[in-house]
Symmetry: C2
Subunit: 323 residues, 2 copies
């Protein structure tokens, strides 16, 4: 990949002032004495982090924005847990300009004190929950001892590296849809017309922003979106949508519920004249995908299908990789 | 920059089990109903995040590791707050393989629940404190209203973008030196012989790891290290050290204290026969630098001096940039 620039920036957020915080004394540097730490004063809250990879010779003027899911960061798009190149590297080798987000309150976006700024405490995701919510194995299939875990037979997730995968999960908050949506809007203000690839909660935000900003969202790829906007009117001109679903929905009640919300949204999009391509991978005889399509062992093949779809829907020319 | 690979990985950390956590009901996806959230179970704690940029034709086999300071992340090395290319881009244009860390508990490394895993609550840095601790202006120079702030005359920090700079600060904990040192050791296990450029708290860790792992740390560049190890024997063969100091130490008691610890360490290194080059920038007639040398308006010049020093100390050939 021949890059012109790797840059980063923050969007969204606003200043707040902390008051009535204790003044502490702690030692913060090796060999130093304790010092006063006064946490009363001004901080930022609600910002989002963006890391941009700009090609010397991009394959398109339209960049790809990668929006991760709940309790995750942009790391989701990097190296897979079993050490294969992730979709970030695949898209860069393919010639796209790529913007990777760490959404509000996650990863490099930082987070704000609670209950002083955010009323609620954060949520931590256990491996126990992830094993079943990510549809790697059955609801009762997790065990602390990796040798005693039960994955779905033929799971495409790199099951042997599940514990390592847990290194990249970060705490999250519920109820932050408004500030997160504002940050994604601020990102679109900067990028202009863009392709959005969103996973899980990020897929739901992608569906939302396609409604709110149809002039900027040129195409949406929603990977197992966990939800869809239920409070928006479908605009007159809707960008094309590709929605991808992995395997093992019949075993999971919450995911059937989530998927139902998205199915309803897709129907409304189609009624409004939008092009919505929904791909149920098992129906296409592709079995064993987990919730993390971009980390499964067929991730390269799935990405190739997505970029082919993008080139077709946006009438872009094919282009060989420069690997 | 012609890169072969951008990859990321985690080092350090260990599994822990959360018990006696409440089981909540919350709505986590757009359009969905509430679901149970059970936070009892297994999580990871203490891991560190590393993003690696690998050149197609590196200028050296020895990579550069960038270790940020307290309450910061690897973002410190990216675009400066006023939008100039940061040292990450400068080093990549210069041909180095670069590993950027988000230290334990910060940024993409995630963080652990307190008091369940970490006994203490985190520390949040206010702009009020940062203005004086980063030596941008006098101790009483901060004001919420940017127009009423007083910076040091001739400050090289991008003062107009100070509020935006605050977007990249993240919460931190005190007392995590042991787990953080373990993670840096695990990183050196992976990279092998490397150059470490560390800033502030990260500079102190660089000084420590140079003592603990002199066979892996080929050279240390400590940018205003906030401390130095006071509990280690100097090894027989010590790597060369470059220590850089900005301006306005006379105005700041805590920084004079921190600097005294480092000065003592440097003396001991020299007594043990190590090559230690200490550069006080004002003594070299370079005035106005803040604590954030890599963000100040002469950052390109300072980086050029550092890479020249590295090439000289490590007997590496010069190389033009491929910009």
């Amino acid at each position: 990949m021949y890059l012109k620039e790797i840059r980063s920036f923050f969007v969204g957020g606003n200043p707040v002032t902390l008051r009535r915080q204790p003044v502490l004394r702690q030692r913060l540097a090796q060999g130093a004495t304790e010092r006063h730490i006064n946490m009363n004063g001004d901080i930022m809250t609600g910002q989002m982090y963006v890391q941009a990879f700009i090609q010397r010779n991009p394959c398109s003027d339209i960049p790809v924005l990668l929006w991760h899911g709940g309790g995750m960061t942009g790391v989701n798009w990097e190296t897979t847990p079993d050490g294969r190149p992730g979709w970030l590297q695949g898209l860069l080798n393919d010639g796209w300009n790529v913007y990777v987000c760490d959404a509000v309150e996650r990863g490099r976006a930082g987070w704000s004190p609670y209950p002083e700024v955010w009323s609620q405490p954060p949520l931590f995701r256990t491996k126990n929950e992830a094993w079943q919510m990510f549809r790697i194995g059955p609801t009762d299939g997790y065990h602390t001892d990796p040798l005693r875990r039960r994955a779905f037979p033929g799971s495409r997730f790199p099951v042997a590296d599940f514990d390592y995968f847990a290194c990249q999960w970060v705490p999250r908050w519920s109820g932050h849809e408004t500030i997160t949506t504002a940050a994604y809007e601020a990102l679109l203000d900067i990028t202009g017309p863009a392709i959005v690839i969103g996973h899980s909660q990020g897929g739901g935000f992608a569906l939302r922003l396609a409604m709110q900003r149809p002039e900027d969202v040129q195409a949406v790829v929603a990977l197992e979106p966990s939800g869809a906007p239920d409070d928006l009117l479908i605009p007159r001109l809707c960008p094309p949508h590709l929605v991808l679903w992995g395997d093992h929905f019949s075993e999971h009640a919450i995911w059937r519920d989530y998927r139902g919300t998205v199915a309803k949204h897709c129907s409304q999009l189609r009624l409004a004249g939008a092009r919505v391509d929904e791909r149920d991978l098992p129906e296409l005889d592709i079995h064993g995908n987990s919730h993390f399509l971009m980390l499964d062992n067929n991730s390269d093949m799935l990405l190739a299908g997505i970029t082919a779809w993008l080139r077709s829907r946006l009438s872009l020319p094919d282009r060989g990789t420069d690997g």
